[in-house]
């Protein structure tokens, strides 16, 4: 317990130290607000503009979560398909890798063309950004199931679905959650890209407008919000991961609960 507190203390101090250093450097080198604003100024902006920023924050969060939810569903479905069928693996994997290599900025205009500017392209961009890691991890988890484990199940005349539900999927959970932590941050990137290019709402849009007005503190305020949302969601999924896949780390709390 003591060691854990010390670790937390150190990490908090380090984060605060980072911002203090930033502030100090800005003072010492007389850095202009147009280039890099001071953290104190960003915080003031955040507080002053809070009423205006709040709906945009909600919009970005909402868009990201919807895209992420779709991404999880489609990602799991594709991952299960690719991970359990040789044919699907051969066919879909090259396609998927090719698709993942396309810069997503390039796809946004196409979505806008199809669905018009606004929330829909942002949701879709967030979705396609987060699918790939989920698919790869789920498929890997399934494909690496120990043959002996499968033998035990097959000797019991378990169907493919039985094996999937009782062995494949539970075994894949640690891989899946690892991918969720990556994916949720990617989903934010997707949303913001789309909002920047084609939307009149969301943090991406706010930052876009702020930078064209040279309102750099507001741009940084937007960045802060995004970073905060990213960290918060990462923490949420880490927590859920710990609860569900504690067995993978042989946690004693998991054993008790």
């Amino acid at each position: 317990m003591n060691a854990q507190w010390r670790r937390r203390l150190w990490s908090t101090m380090f984060i605060i130290g980072f911002f203090v250093l930033w502030e100090v450097l800005c003072w010492v080198f007389h850095v202009s607000d147009i280039v890099v604003p001071k953290p104190s100024q960003v915080i003031v902006t955040l507080i002053q503009r809070a009423p205006a920023l709040w709906p945009h924050t909600l919009q970005t969060l909402y868009t990201t979560m919807v895209g992420f939810a779709f991404g999880i569903v489609i990602g799991i479905a594709l991952g299960v398909l690719i991970g359990s069928s040789r044919l699907a693996y051969d066919v879909a994997y090259p396609l998927l890798v090719g698709f993942a290599s396309i810069p997503k900025v390039a796809v946004v205009p196409i979505f806008v063309l199809w669905f018009g500017a606004g929330t829909v392209p942002a949701v879709l961009t967030a979705m396609i950004m987060c699918i790939f890691p989920i698919v790869v991890n789920v498929a890997t988890g399934l494909a690496t199931t120990e043959p002996e484990l499968e033998d035990v199940m097959r000797a019991l005349r378990a169907t493919k679905t039985d094996i999937l539900w009782n062995v494949g999927l539970p075994r894949t959970m640690p891989f899946f959650f690892a991918s969720l932590k990556v994916s949720v941050t990617l989903a934010f990137v997707g949303t913001v890209i789309s909002e920047t290019v084609a939307s009149n709402r969301g943090i991406g849009n706010v930052m876009m407008i702020a930078s064209s007005n040279f309102d750099v503190p507001l741009v940084f305020a937007g960045l802060m919000i995004l970073a905060f949302l990213g960290v918060a969601l990462y923490a949420v999924f880490s927590f859920i991961e710990g609860r569900i896949t504690g067995w993978a780390h042989r946690k004693d709390e998991f054993a008790m609960g």
């Binding site: 000797a155 019991l156 005349r157 042989r250 054993a255």
Partner: protein, 280 residues
């Protein structure tokens, strides 16, 4: 020295497992490898057969054939009078590696077959918290694991896991029990203790057992019949009944008859080993 391929005992009403001129070949063309060559084997219902032989002679292959995990290249495998897989035969299996699912408690691991195998499968939801649970706990108690049902596999030692793995192989009262060196990784004392438990469970439940082992004392202690296999190609070269009365105990293994039996088996296995060829 060449050993004759021996005739299996004749087919009777009680024949439960039957291998008829079964061959298993791996690979194709030049690199084809005959893991099992035209093997005949008959096992009666309720029999306890031990398969011994040099490493790589196809013991695990026979086990997989009978369990329906592997298809023969030629020949037929019958279980309960029908081709393997066709009949509703409950099969239990345990390997050298306990293969417990780490996300489940030991009890849930043991109960897994009940979740899969009919007729238990249909009742699993309603009985998992009472009847099935008690059944798992009773079995765990018999192997000396009472009170460990709520633990997770990593909290148990290797020997304890192997006991749990035996429970999992037995919980659904299999007619056919396939054991592939289940005691192989254990220390001598745990092993001997588990032999006694295994014998007791077998005498009580009377499943048909095929046990693969490298330990001749183990084969002599547990089996009613010992089949010796030879390698390259894999085949059965000796098949003899074990005459000692039940229940057997570890003292019996020091009797001169027992020792001479294991010595004979040892001789057979040594001579059944492949002649060292130089591989180019």
């Amino acid at each position: 020295m060449t050993t004759e391929i021996i005739e299996p005992p004749p087919r009777t009403e009680d024949t439960f497992v039957e291998l008829e001129k079964v061959s298993v070949k791996f690979g194709k063309g030049e690199s084809q490898f005959i893991a099992l060559d035209e093997t005949d084997l008959r096992i009666e219902k309720g029999d306890f057969v031990a398969l011994v032989g040099p490493s790589g002679c196809g013991k695990s292959t026979i086990l997989k054939l009978v369990a329906g995990l592997l298809k023969s290249t030629n020949g037929y495998v019958y279980v309960a009078g029908r081709e393997v897989g066709a009949a509703e035969v409950r099969v239990g299996m345990a390997f050298q590696n306990p293969t417990m699912l780490p996300w489940l408690t030991v009890r849930d691991n043991v109960m897994m077959p009940l979740k899969i195998v009919p007729p238990f499968r249909q009742e699993y939801r309603s009985k998992k918290n009472n009847e099935f649970r008690d059944r798992a706990d009773a079995l765990l108690k018999e192997v000396g694991l009472s009170g460990f049902g709520d633990k997770h596999p990593w909290q148990l030692s290797g020997g304890m896991l192997q006991r749990a793995s035996l429970c999992r192989a037995l919980i659904h009262e299999p007619q056919l029990l396939m054991l592939d060196e289940p005691f192989g990784a254990l220390d001598q004392f745990t092993r001997e203790e588990l032999w006694a438990i295994m014998q007791e469970l077998w005498m009580k439940l009377k499943p048909t057992v095929v046990l693969v082992t490298h330990d001749l004392k183990e084969a002599g202690y547990l089996a009613t019949r010992i089949c010796v296999m030879a390698t390259r190609p894999g085949r059965i070269v000796d098949d003899a009944a074990v005459p000692f009365p039940r229940p057997r105990n570890i003292e019996m293994s020091y009797l001169p008859e027992f020792v001479s039996m294991t010595q004979r088996l040892r001789q057979l296995i040594v001579s059944a080993r492949p002649v060292k060829e130089t591989v180019q």
